[in-house]
Amino acid sequence: MAATEIARQAGEGARAVPLSGHVGFDSMPDQLVNKSVNHGFCFNILCVGETGLGKSTLMDTLFNTKFEGDPTQHNQPGVQLKSNTYELQESNVRLKLTIVNSVGFGDQINKEDSYKPIVEFIDTQFEAYLQEELKIKRTLHSYHDTRVHACLYFISPTGHSLKSLDLVTMKKLDSKVNIIPIIAKSDAISKSELAKFKIKITSELVSNGVQIYQFPTDDETVAEINSTMNGHLPFAVVGSTEEVKIGNKMVKARQYPWGTVQVENENHCDFVKLREMLIRVNMEDLREQTHTRHYELYRRCKLEEMGFKDTDPDSKPFSLQETYEAKRNEFMGELQKKEEEMRQMFVQRVKEKEAELKEAEKELHEKFDRLKKLHQDEKKKLEDKKKSLDDELNIFKQKKTAAELLQSQAQQAGGSTTLKRDKERKNSGFL
C-alpha cells in the first residue's frame, strides 16, 4: 500500500504570482453577493428606552413602513420585550427585520432589575445560536439568526445628563451587543443645549467605561465618513410618519405652531445620519461584530463555565468527548442521587403518615373505652338506685303486712263492731 508524504511548500507565506491574462475570479465577490441575495438577510434591532420616547415611531420612520402595534401604557408591572419580525424587500434584496421593543422600561418605582430581562433576552438569542452550532446534525446556513445586531438606546431629552438607570443599563449591555445611543425627541432641545448635552453624555459614558459601538474606520472607502459620524454620537433624532407640504414637496415632519421640524433635514436633526450609519453603511459590520466579538465572548464564557478547556491540539476532540462523558456521568450521578433522595423522602412521609394514623386509631380506641366505662358506671349507678328502691319497697311491704297482721290480731281480740271491721276490711282492702 502506498504511504503518504505530505509536504507543505511555502506554507503560510504563499508567494505572490503574477497573472499573464484574465482569469476571471474577479467575479468572486459577485458570486458571493449573489448567493447572499438568494439567501436573504437578517437584521435584528433592539430598542431600549423609556415608554413614550418614540421608539416605535422612529422604527416606522427609518424603514418607511407602518409596523403594527399600539402605543404602550405606562402601567406595566415589569420590563418585557416584544419582538416582531417583518419581511422587507427593496429591489432584489430581501431583509428579514426583527424589531424588539422594551415595554415598560423605566416605568416601575423600583428600577433595580429593569436591565435583567433585556440581558436575558440577548443571552437567550446567543444561547439558541450556540445550541445550533453545537448540534451534531446542524443546519447553520439556513438558520434564522435572531441574535441582536444593534441596540438603539433611547436617551430622554432632559438636556442635563444621563440618568443613572441609563448608565447602569448601558454598562450591562455594552459587552453583549453593539450599543448606539440616540437622543430621542430631540426637537425638545435647542441647538446650544444639544451640543452641551452631547458632550456631557459622551464624557459620562467614557468616565463610566461604557463601550458604545464605534463605526469602523479601517476600510478606506468608508473610513472618513465613519470617523466624522463617530464624532456626532449620540445622534439626536426626531421621528415622524406624518407628512407635511414644504414648498412643493411632501416631507416627513412634525408641525408645531412655531414651525416645522423636518425629519430628513440635516440641520434639524441627525435622523439622516442615523439612517446612513445604521443601514446604508454599516449594517454588515454590525452583523459581523455581533458574530465575531459579542457572540464569541458569550460562547467562550459559556463553554468555560461548563468546564471545557482548550488542551493540546492533538487530543482536543478526545478530551472534549471525555469532558462530555465526564459531565454526563456526573449529571447522571446527580440525577440518581436526587432520585434516591426523593425516594427516601417519600418513604419517610409514608412512615409519618402511618404513625399519625396509628395515633389517631389509638385515640379512638381510648375514647371508646372511656365511653364504655362511663356507660357502665352509669348503668351500675342506676342499678344501685333501683336496688335501693326495691329494698325500700320490700321494707314497705313488710311493714304493711306487719301492720295488717296487727290489725287482724286486734280484731280477733276485740269482737268490735262489724262496721269497724268492715271499715277496716275496707281499709285493708284498700291497702
Binding site: P18, H22, N64, M306, P317
Partner: protein
C-alpha cells in the same frame, strides 16, 4: 500584481465563439443581476406606495455593497486538488487555468524524470490578484497516483489528506477561543484526469471516483483531448457518463444539491457536457494575427480557448467564473458537515443516540440545556 493584459474583458467569450453557448447566457444573466443592484432604483418597501425615489428609499440594498467591500478586503481562498496519472498534463492545465506558473512542475524540470515510489501529496499556495480581488490559491498535487504496478487503495492517501483537512477545520471550530477567521484548507474541488483512451472508464478511475465523490466535489476531465476526434470524444463522453451512472457516482454538480429550478437548469446543461475534454498549454502562438494559447503541431494549432477545439473554456468558467462560490458552499455545508457528524458520533458510545433529523442525539445537548 495586476494582470497586465488588458485585451480580455470578462465578456471575451462572446467575441470569438459560437452562438449557442450556455456559459455566455449564464454570465450575462449573472451580470445582468448585478446591474440591477444599483442604488438609485425603485425601492418597494412593504406596504408603502411609491412616492418618489428620495422619499421612499430606505437603503437596505446598500448591504450588498457593504458585503462586497468586506469580501474584497478579506480576500478569498480556493483549494484545488489535481489527481491523475503522471504525464496527463495536470500541472500544465493548472497553469493554463490561472494563467501563471503556479505549478511547481514547470519551475523545476528535473522533477519530470522522477516517478515517485509512493503517492505524495504536495500542496503549494499562491497569492494572486485580479482587479482588486485577492485570492489565495492552493494547488494540491498528487504525483505518484496510479503510477505503481499495484494500485490497490491508491485513493486512501488522498482520502486521508482530505479528511485531515476537515479534521483541522473541526479542531479549530471547537476551540474555546477561536480565531476570527478560521483558515480554510479544505479541498473545495478535485479535478480528476481521465486518460484519453476513447473506450470507457478504467477500474482505477471508477474506484477512485466512487470513494471520493462522497467526501469532495469531483470534476472529471478528459486529459489531452487533442488526441481524440470529435466523434470519438462524444462517444467517450457518453460511455463515461454511462459508467458513472451505473456505478452511482455523483460528480459535481451533484443533482441532489440543486437548490431551485434555475439552478437545476444551469446545472443540467453542465451535466450534459461532463466530462470536459480539455487541452492545456502555457505557450502562445500566432493564429490569425492574434496571440493565443495553444499547441502547435505540424497539422495545425489547437487553440486552448477556442470552444470549437476543446472545452477548456467551459471548465474554466465553471470552476472560476460562475461556480466557485458554489463549490466552496457545498464543501463547507455538506461534505464538511457529513464529516463532522461522523466524527462527533464515533466518539460517542452512548446507546441512546437517535440520529434523526430533528433531535441531535448527543448527550451534550442534554448537558447544555440542563446546566444552564
Amino acid at each position: 500584481m495586476q494582470a497586465t493584459d488588458q485585451r480580455e474583458p470578462y465578456m471575451e467569450l462572446q467575441e470569438g465563439s459560437d452562438s449557442e453557448l450556455w456559459q455566455s447566457e449564464v454570465i450575462t444573466s449573472f451580470y445582468g443581476n448585478m446591474a440591477d443592484t444599483a442604488k438609485t432604483t425603485h425601492p418597494q418597501p412593504a406596504g408603502r406606495p411609491e412616492k418618489g425615489a428620495e422619499f421612499g428609499y430606505v437603503g437596505i440594498d446598500a448591504i450588498l455593497e457593504q458585503m462586497r467591500r468586506k469580501a474584497m478586503k478579506q480576500g478569498f481562498e480556493l483549494n484545488i486538488m489535481v489527481v491523475g496519472q503522471s504525464g496527463l498534463g495536470k500541472s500544465t492545465l493548472i497553469n493554463t487555468l490561472f494563467k501563471s506558473k503556479v505549478s511547481r512542475r514547470s519551475v523545476m524540470p528535473s522533477d519530470e524524470e522522477r516517478i515517485p515510489k509512493t503517492i505524495e501529496i504536495k500542496s503549494v499556495s499562491h497569492d494572486i490578484e485580479e482587479k482588486g480581488v485577492r485570492m489565495k490559491l492552493t494547488v494540491i498535487d498528487t504525483p505518484g497516483f496510479g503510477d505503481q504496478i499495484n494500485n490497490e487503495n491508491c485513493w486512501q492517501p488522498i482520502m486521508k489528506f482530505i479528511n485531515e483537512q476537515y479534521e483541522q477545520y473541526l479542531q479549530e471550530e471547537i476551540n474555546i477561543s477561536r480565531k476570527k477567521r478560521i483558515p480554510d484548507s479544505r479541498v473545495h474541488c478535485c479535478i480528476y484526469f481521465i486518460p484519453p483512451t476513447g473506450h470507457c472508464l478504467r477500474p482505477i478511475d471508477i474506484e477512485f471516483m466512487r470513494h471520493l465523490s462522497k467526501v469532495v466535489n469531483i470534476v472529471p476531465v478528459i486529459a489531452k483531448a487533442d488526441t481524440l476526434t470529435l466523434e470519438e470524444r462524444d462517444f467517450f463522453k457518453q460511455k463515461i457518463r454511462e459508467d458513472l451512472r451505473v456505478n452511482e457516482i455523483e460528480v459535481y454538480p451533484q443533482k441532489e444539491f440543486d437548490e431551485d429550478s434555475e439552478d437545476r437548469m444551469i446545472n443540467d446543461k453542465i451535466r450534459e457536457m461532463i466530462p470536459f475534454a480539455v487541452v492545456g498549454s502555457d505557450q502562445e502562438y500566432q493564429v490569425n494575427g492574434k496571440r493565443l494559447l495553444g499547441r502547435k503541431t505540424r497539422w495545425g494549432t489547437v487553440e486552448v480557448e477556442n470552444t470549437a477545439h476543446c472545452e477548456f473554456a467551459y471548465l474554466r468558467d465553471l470552476l472560476i467564473r460562475t461556480h466557485m462560490q458554489n463549490l466552496k458552499d457545498i464543501t463547507s455545508s455538506i461534505h464538511y458537515e457529513v464529516y463532522r457528524v461522523r466524527r462527533l458520533n464515533e466518539n460517542n458510545t452512548h446507546p441512546s443516540d437517535q440520529p434523526n433529523g430533528h433531535s441531535n442525539g448527543v448527550p451534550t445537548h442534554e448537558v447544555l440545556s440542563h446546566e444552564m
